[in-house]
Symmetry: C2
Subunit: 312 residues, 2 copies
């Protein structure tokens, strides 16, 4: 057994417009770092959390990283003395998969500490259990890209079926994070229980177009397909000026624009870095006009998932 | 202007399980042949229909081929004297796109007779108008593959957006046509107006998996994705023994099995010709046990759409 392992997992965008609930992708720049160390105190502990302004619980069974690692250790039938240190390098409750990044980095760090008994894919169910604490449901659309990287489709849950999808090399994602907070559970509460068959078929056609566009490197088809008629119309209400910000992104050349996860972050796709920059500026201006401060990021799809940064 | 053109359009499978209402593909062996000839009588006429047991109307505005050609001629702003002869080489009301094949072959024949002013893609809207007569709705999921061949996704209708999809070379389709008839309008009447969000998301995940599987030549993924939770559970009631026939197909090694179009034909995918044959025999046995006679066909995806057979 190693003495200590530091792992990083990327932030992620889930609910990719028509890919609501079934697609997600990893991004660059943002994510969580988790260090797992052998310690003297019996059991699993969260020793320290930084970058969260003191808001996240250090109680193992209330923390997404703690719950994920507990589930992993239970499966492996081992109970080593491990302490976790979590360093958040991304905003909380932003809709960019903050809890998924913690859970993914934690299971990767502990798995490596134990000599990598499991593959990244095999770590998925345990990391998903961490997510349950955050959102009330065991979703994979942030966890799967946080662990595996790239763009992924969650075909189904019974059994869990994760399909890695390609993405064009110049597909950029601009992210606008308005400095407001939305609770995932509030956003889920806005979802209708039933929808019209017509809306379902519209979403299905678009999802097919998006998947085909990703395989074909067809930026225009990706753009035409990026329409969410199920979740976005409801959840947009939680983001001041969403319609104006989206319009600004589209006017600046975005292929498409929708809500990242359950918000408030808004993502826009574009073809190339230059457009991505212009789109970010336009979105931030539009957000500012609503009287809301924001942060902007621009990134390609991150093809690398959670991984070990250093170990000893 | 030529004197006469004979064109053929293939039969098609629409409603490809989770691809209900958004996907279709062309098959071999079955289809319709339409001959368009310059004649002396003013206007457009249907001179003869064969292979239909006298059941199809020869009145131009009541026949799918007639309506489609009328729409084409109106668009082209021309009213030549043309007679059509329709030779059906496939069963009517079988769920294999019989009316689409007539409309597709007719517009291709007349377009060629007029010196090909339009491309195959551009003929789509006119052929779709012929479909309206048959099903009451202007659907493209039979017409698009009948005209263009191969496997297609109809991403959306506003505007019409047809995406050609690849398919693995050894993907075989077994078709069982039970000798009963279902009217498309009856089958459409069984569809729910609203569905649960959960069902919509299941269908969306599967459609994504099916499109990805087609691009990846991943037969297993195609198979796992071939589940329709929206239309099949309702429409299966119209086909005696559907559950048993599907089970027989799956037991014989089918990747997946569902209703072709609005039925009663049942299609099953498999990897390779040998399995396709076994599946056909098993399905026919199961159908026979219901006391229903049937015909069986086996085919690869037909990559060729409607085309001219001969001209003078």
């Amino acid at each position: 057994m190693k003495k200590g392992v530091k792992a990083f997992a990327p932030a992620t965008v889930a609910n990719v417009a028509c890919g609501f609930d079934v697609m997600g992708f990893a991004i660059h720049h943002l994510g969580d770092e988790v260090t797992a160390r052998v310690c003297q105190t019996p059991g699993l502990h969260i020793r320290k959390i930084s970058g969260d302004d003191g808001r996240l619980p250090t109680a193992v069974d209330k923390n997404t990283a703690g719950v994920a690692v507990q589930a992993l250790l239970r499966y492996l039938g081992t109970s080593p003395n491990i302490e976790l240190e979590i360093h958040k390098k991304m905003p909380l409750a932003s809709g960019m998969g903050s809890s998924a990044a913690s859970a993914a980095a934690a299971v990767v760090a502990v798995n490596a500490l134990l000599g990598n008994p499991l593959s990244s894919e095999a770590l998925l169910p345990f990391a998903m259990q961490g997510e349950t604490i955050a959102s009330g449901v065991a979703h994979a659309d942030n966890i799967a890209p946080a662990l595996l990287g790239g763009m992924v489709l969650i075909r189904g849950y019974d059994p869990l079926d994760i399909i890695p999808l390609p993405s064009p090399p110049d597909l950029y994602c601009t992210l606008l994070h308005p400095k407001i907070e939305i609770r995932t559970s509030d956003a889920r509460g806005l979802l209708p229980k039933n929808i019209s068959l017509r809306k379902a078929l519209t979403q299905i056609g678009n999802l097919g177009g998006l998947v085909a566009g990703l395989f074909l490197d067809d930026y225009e088809l990706i753009g035409r397909s990026l329409e969410d008629v199920i979740a976005e119309p409801q959840r947009a209400k939680l983001i001041p000026g969403f319609a104006q910000i989206k319009q600004a992104a589209m006017d600046a050349g975005a292929l498409g624009c929708s809500i990242s996860g359950s918000g408030p972050t808004i993502f826009a796709f574009s073809n190339g870095a230059e457009k991505s920059g212009k789109i970010g500026a336009a979105m931030q201006d539009a957000c500012q006009r609503q009287g809301v401060e924001s942060a902007v990021y621009q990134t390609r799809i991150n093809q690398m998932g959670a991984d070990v940064v250093s170990q000893k």
